[in-house]
């Protein structure tokens, strides 16, 4: 099965996103020295960390990366199957910072809604922008990404799986068709 994105395409997409973030921050005249990235666990956390690495040469510092667990904020948290929370790791306050929220796949928008709720508990950011590797369309909530790696309209019963090192063996985005009763994760 041919992946929707291979390692080289993911790499290119992240470079592209990081360029867009820089351009956007300059255009917004944001306080770049306070930039922070927040990744939704677990693949969003890896992507946020990679973006921080890419941004640091131009910024002359490494933006801090937070890992957000949205389990306790989900609108389906009390539906089967009950998931074990992973824990949030946020070693800095978000007050007055420009913040880039990062996730792997944007689908219904429900994860992002939960993430926004969770982030508010860590302070009041100057603004929050959303970066996603893969936008598969199919929004159920009024949410849009500001920075997108790849945008493809995928049949809503298919599952998009993003695999990233070191959590997975290699970097790729694949589609698994016709999964029954899939649980929307993005």
């Amino acid at each position: 099965m041919k992946p929707l994105m291979n390692a080289a395409q993911i790499d290119k997409a992240l470079n592209n996103i990081s360029d867009q973030i820089l351009a956007n921050l300059l255009a917004e005249s944001a306080d770049i020295s306070k930039l922070a990235l927040v990744g939704i666990r677990r693949r969003g956390e890896i992507l946020a960390s990679r973006l921080s690495d890419r941004l640091s040469p131009q910024l002359k510092f490494k933006p801090p990366v937070g890992a957000l667990d949205i389990t306790l904020y989900r609108d389906d948290a009390m539906r089967a199957p009950l998931t074990i929370p992973l824990g949030t790791e946020m070693n800095f306050r978000l007050d007055d910072r420009p913040v880039i929220l990062v996730d792997d796949v944007l689908f219904t928008g429900r994860s992002v809604r939960a993430a926004l709720d969770a982030m508010v508990d860590f302070g009041r950011p100057q603004f929050i922008r959303l970066a996603v590797l893969f936008d598969r369309m199919g929004r159920e909530y009024p949410i849009a990404a500001d920075f997108v790696g790849e945008r493809v309209n995928v049949d809503r019963h298919s599952v998009i799986v993003v695999e990233l090192k070191p959590m997975d063996a290699l970097d790729r985005v694949v589609i698994k068709p016709n999964a029954k009763k899939e649980r929307a994760t993005s």
Binding site: M78, R79, L82
Partner: protein
């Protein structure tokens, strides 16, 4: 497969004896994830928003009840403390009637403490909400067992060891202690070696049937253990002369600075509280660097949040299906 695929299905937490290793691990992992919430400036998550938790305590307890109350509040649940002494229970109402009446008010979890072993189990068969055992007679105190193991695990992490690598001593009035039983189950299931220590009147050899060793000589055991859990002498449960005098008990089974000096250098001292200072534990030890007693209290909050989240969540998901 991975951590994210772990699931919890039990609506009640009645004993640790009935839990699998996977379930205990799921509880401890959840507690680890939830511990961070208490470090935030906004110490609250919306996971149990709109849920109601009732504290139904038939025995005195300040810290456990407060800990459950705070845990429920940090998950955004509403909490009601049911004061048994001023309630209809003192007018002769049966436990089942009391529980069903409370449930009829739309309650999602009952946290119960009772002097009779097995009461939470009986209750769980009579109501459809979650039942959490906060201590039943001399049977079990599951959240205390979990928080003790959580605290041990946390301190072992620094040295890269696991619960299965350690030898723990539980010292004192074992026979009357639900804390000892819950600790014993959690520790042995996770692979630790356990030795129960106490006078023969409080720590009979027959306990060896539970897969642990029994000793009546604290000084012989101390140099070999990684954890010492000092139980409280429960004067309120001692009916006859279980030991000749308080001084003698302290002499043979009190953890003093001199005894601590003969322990391994990285030994961890636990006590479930409230302490009888100068009896089972001396102040120098209780307040010293080896003591994890206050960490146990902080961790108790995370463990109780985990228990409430998982049990109320499991009950809600099962009712939704």
């Amino acid at each position: 497969m991975t951590l994210a695929q772990q699931h919890w299905t039990r609506p009640h937490l009645l004993t640790l004896e009935q839990l699998s290793v996977q379930e205990i691990t799921a509880l401890l992992d959840t507690a680890q994830a939830l511990k961070e919430v208490s470090t935030r400036s906004i110490k609250k998550v919306p996971a149990l928003r709109g849920k109601v938790v009732v504290n139904l305590f038939f025995e005195d307890s300040t810290r456990t009840r407060t800990s459950f109350r705070l845990a429920a509040q940090r998950l955004s649940a509403d909490v009601v403390d049911f004061a048994v002494s001023t309630s209809s229970v003192s007018k002769g109402e049966t436990l089942a009637d009391t529980a069903r009446n409370i449930e009829a008010m739309g309650v999602d979890a009952i946290v119960i403490r009772h002097r009779s072993s097995g009461t939470p189990e009986v209750l769980s068969r009579q109501v459809s909400c979650s039942v959490i055992n906060a201590g039943d007679g001399a049977h079990e105190h599951p959240t205390q067992g979990l928080l003790d193991v959580f605290t041990i695990q946390e301190s072992l992490r620094k040295t890269g060891r696991k619960i299965s690598d350690i030898h723990a001593a539980i010292v004192g009035d074992i026979i009357h202690s639900r804390v000892a039983r819950s600790n014993l189950w959690a520790l042995t299931k996770l692979g630790a070696k356990v030795t129960l220590v106490g006078p023969s009147t409080m720590c009979p050899k027959s306990m060896e049937k539970l897969g642990v060793s029994v000793s009546h000589d604290l000084d012989a055991v101390l140099p070999h253990v990684d954890v010492v859990n000092m139980l409280r002498v429960q004067f309120e449960r001692l009916t006859s002369a279980a030991f000749p005098s308080v001084r003698e008990y302290h002499h043979f089974f009190g953890l003093t600075a001199a005894r601590l000096a003969r322990c391994k250098p990285d030994v961890l001292v636990l006590h479930p509280g409230p302490m009888n200072r100068g009896l089972e534990i001396s102040s120098a030890v209780a307040d010293g660097p080896k003591s994890a007693i206050l960490r146990q209290v902080s961790n108790g909050l995370a463990v109780r949040m985990a228990v409430l989240y998982l049990c109320v969540g499991a009950a809600a998901t099962q009712n939704a299906e």
